[in-house]
C-alpha cells in the first residue's frame, strides 16, 4: 500500500512477489501499479480539477486495474473495476471507513481472509501488507483517518497477516495508553508547556484588544483635539500604538505556531 509521502520510495517495486496498490498521482519511482484506487466521485469535484485528473489517469499506462466507487469505464478501458463497497461495508461496517487507505486495507483483508460459513478465515501463512508513503499523522484533521487505518491494520494482524510499517511512520508508534498518559512525565511536561503557551496567547490577545481600544480612543481624542500641539502629541501616541500592535501581532503568530507544534507532539504520543 503506497501513499504519496516521501517514504513511498520504499515500496518493493522490484520484487514481483509484491502487489503494488496505490492512490493519487503515481510517483515516478513506482514503475508498476497492480491496483490503483480512486474512490471519490469525480463529478463532485471542481470541473477543471476533475478533468485534469481524468486526463492524468487516462495517460497512466502502468496501472493494471483502477478501482473506483463511482466507475468511469472510459478512463482506462477494460481496466476500471467497481469497488465492492456493499460487500466490504456489510462485513466491516462503516465506522472506520475514514480514508481511501481504510477501504484498501479492508479489501485486502477481505481477499486474504475470506468469509466462510459466516466466519472470517485466517490468511495463508506468508501473507503480508506493507505500508509506505502514508503517515496520517499530522494534527486533528487526520486523527480519525489514523484510527480507521490502524483499526484495519490491527484487524489484519489478528487474522494472520504480517503487517509491516516503517519505523518513522505515524502508523508504527504505539502511543501512551489511557490512563497512563494522565501522569506520564513527558505528557505532563507537554501539558505544562501548552498551558504556559496558551496563557501567553491569551495575554498577547488581551494586549492586542487593549491596544485596539486605545487606538480607537486616541483617534476619538484626535478628532476633538483643541490645539495643533495636542494633536501632534496624540499623533505620536497613535503611531506608537500602531507599532506596538504590529509587534504584538508577530508575537501572537509565533506563540500560536509554538502551540500548534506542541499539539502535534501531544497528539502523536497519546492516542
Amino acid at each position: 500500500m503506497v501513499g504519496t509521502s516521501g517514504s513511498g520510495v520504499a515500496a518493493p517495486v522490484n520484487d514481483p512477489s509484491w502487489e503494488i496498490w496505490g492512490v493519487s498521482a503515481r510517483g515516478s519511482y513506482l514503475t508498476r501499479a497492480t491496483r490503483w484506487f480512486e474512490i471519490h466521485r469525480l463529478d463532485g469535484e471542481p470541473a477543471d480539477w476533475a478533468n485534469r485528473w481524468r486526463d492524468h489517469l487516462r495517460g497512466d499506462k502502468a496501472i493494471e486495474a483502477l478501482y473506483m466507487m463511482y466507475p468511469e469505464p472510459d478512463l482506462l478501458p477494460g481496466r476500471v473495476l467497481e469497488y465492492p463497497r456493499e460487500r466490504i461495508e456489510w462485513r466491516f461496517g462503516s465506522f472506520f471507513m475514514q480514508s481511501t487507505f481504510s477501504w484498501m486495507v479492508a479489501l485486502a483483508i477481505d481477499e486474504m481472509c475470506p468469509m466462510v460459513g459466516g466466519r472470517s478465515t485466517l490468511a495463508e501463512p506468508g501473507s503480508q501488507i506493507f505500508m509506505c508513503g502514508v503517515d496520517l499523522e499530522y494534527g486533528t484533521e487526520y486523527r480519525e483517518q489514523r484510527s480507521g487505518l490502524r483499526h484495519f491494520l490491527e484487524l489484519a494482524k489478528h487474522l494472520g497477516i504480517n503487517v509491516q510499517r516503517l519505523a518513522d511512520s505515524g502508523l508504527a508508534f504505539e502511543p501512551i495508553a489511557y490512563p497512563f498518559w494522565q501522569d506520564d512525565p513527558l505528557v505532563s511536561k507537554l501539558a505544562q508547556r501548552m498551558k504556559l503557551c496558551k496563557a501567553r496567547i491569551n495575554e498577547i490577545d488581551g494586549l492586542i484588544q487593549n491596544t485596539i481600544a486605545n487606538i480607537a480612543s486616541v483617534k476619538g481624542s484626535i478628532a476633538e483635539a483643541a490645539t495643533p500641539d495636542r494633536r501632534q502629541t496624540l499623533d505620536g501616541a497613535l503611531q506608537q500604538l500602531n507599532e506596538a500592535l504590529e509587534k504584538l501581532s508577530v508575537d501572537l503568530t509565533r506563540a500560536e505556531a509554538t502551540h500548534e507544534e506542541l499539539c502535534f507532539i501531544r497528539d502523536y504520543i497519546s492516542p
Binding site: R41, R143, S147, H158, E174
Partner: protein, 270 residues
C-alpha cells in the same frame, strides 16, 4: 468453553437492561456500581489512586472496597488491601493488541475478554461466545471520539474473531455512519453543513458587530472625556449599545445551534 460477557458502563440510559438475570452471562463492571447490579463476576479499576487528591482517593477506595465484596478487582495499579485484587495483565494485553485503542476502561475490559476467550495461539472464539456492552455510549462530541474508536475497534475485532456482539440499538456504538468519501455528498450531511456554515457566518457577523460597537463606544467615551457633548453623540452611543446587545443575543443562540449541528455531524459521518 463458551463464555458470554456483559461489559457494563455507567450510562443510565440502557445500563438497566444488562442481563443480570441470565446466569450464562458474566457481568463485568467498572466505575460506580449501580443498585440494580445485583451480581457481578468482576470489577475493573484502571486508574492510579495515588494520582488523585487524597480526599477523592480515600472516598473512592472506600467505595471500591464496599462495592467489590466477594468479587475480583482487576487493577492497573494494584492496591492489595482493597479486596480480592488482581493485577491487570497490561504488558501482555499491550503486546498483543497495541496501545492505540486502549482509550478507556471498557476498552481494557473488552481486550481482556478477547484475550481470555481467544488466548494467544488460538485464532477464533468458540462458537457461541458473546460480548455485550450496556450502559455506555461514548458518543458526546470530540471528548469521547478516541474512547468511541477504542470501543468500536475491540467490538469489531471480536466480531471478526468469531464472537457475537450485543449492543443497544440506541447506543452510539451500533450506528453505522456514512463512510468517507460518501459523506462528502450525502444529502442530510450536506444540509447540516449548510446550516452550520450559515450559523457560523452569523456568529462571525455578530462578533464583528460587537467589536465595531465596542470601538464606537470607546471612541465616543474618549470624545466625551475630551469635552465633546451633543445629542448626536448620545444617540450614537445608544445605537452602539443596542447593536452590541442584539449581537450578544445572536452569539448565544447561534453558538447553541452550532454545537448541536456539530454533534449530529460527528454522529452521522465516519
Amino acid at each position: 468453553m463458551i463464555r458470554k460477557i456483559a461489559i457494563l458502563g455507567t450510562d443510565p440510559v440502557n445500563a438497566a437492561d444488562v442481563p443480570i438475570g441470565e446466569p450464562d452471562w458474566e457481568i463485568w463492571g467498572c466505575a460506580r456500581r449501580a443498585d440494580f447490579v445485583t451480581r457481578a463476576e468482576r470489577w475493573y479499576e484502571v486508574h492510579r489512586f495515588e494520582g488523585y487528591t487524597p480526599e477523592f482517593a480515600a472516598w473512592w477506595r472506600d467505595i471500591t472496597r464496599r462495592q467489590c465484596v466477594g468479587i475480583p478487582i482487576y487493577m492497573l495499579f494494584p492496591e492489595a488491601d482493597l479486596g480480592d485484587v488482581r493485577r491487570y495483565p497490561y504488558e501482555e494485553i499491550a503486546a498483543r493488541f497495541g496501545t492505540f485503542f486502549l482509550t478507556s476502561s471498557p476498552a481494557y475490559m473488552l481486550a481482556h475478554a478477547i484475550d481470555e476467550i481467544v488466548p494467544p495461539g488460538e485464532r477464533f472464539a468458540p462458537e457461541g461466545s458473546a460480548l455485550g456492552v450496556w450502559g455506555m455510549n461514548a458518543e458526546g462530541g470530540t471528548e469521547y471520539r478516541s474512547q468511541r474508536a477504542g470501543l468500536r475497534h475491540f467490538l469489531q475485532l471480536a466480531r471478526h474473531l468469531g464472537f457475537s456482539t450485543v449492543l443497544h440499538a440506541d447506543g452510539g456504538l451500533i450506528f453505522e455512519p456514512v463512510p468517507y468519501p460518501l459523506h462528502m455528498d450525502d444529502p442530510l450531511i450536506a444540509k447540516l453543513k449548510l446550516r452550520e456554515a450559515k450559523a457560523r457566518k452569523m456568529l462571525d457577523g455578530a462578533a464583528n458587530t460587537i467589536a465595531e460597537a465596542e470601538k464606537g463606544i470607546t471612541r465616543i467615551k474618549a470624545m466625551a472625556e475630551a469635552g465633546a457633548v451633543s445629542d448626536e453623540l448620545k444617540i450614537d452611543l445608544e445605537r452602539h449599545q443596542f447593536s452590541k446587545n442584539a449581537a450578544l443575543a445572536t452569539l448565544a443562540s447561534k453558538s447553541g445551534e452550532v454545537a448541536e449541528i456539530c454533534y449530529w455531524l460527528d454522529y452521522l459521518r465516519a
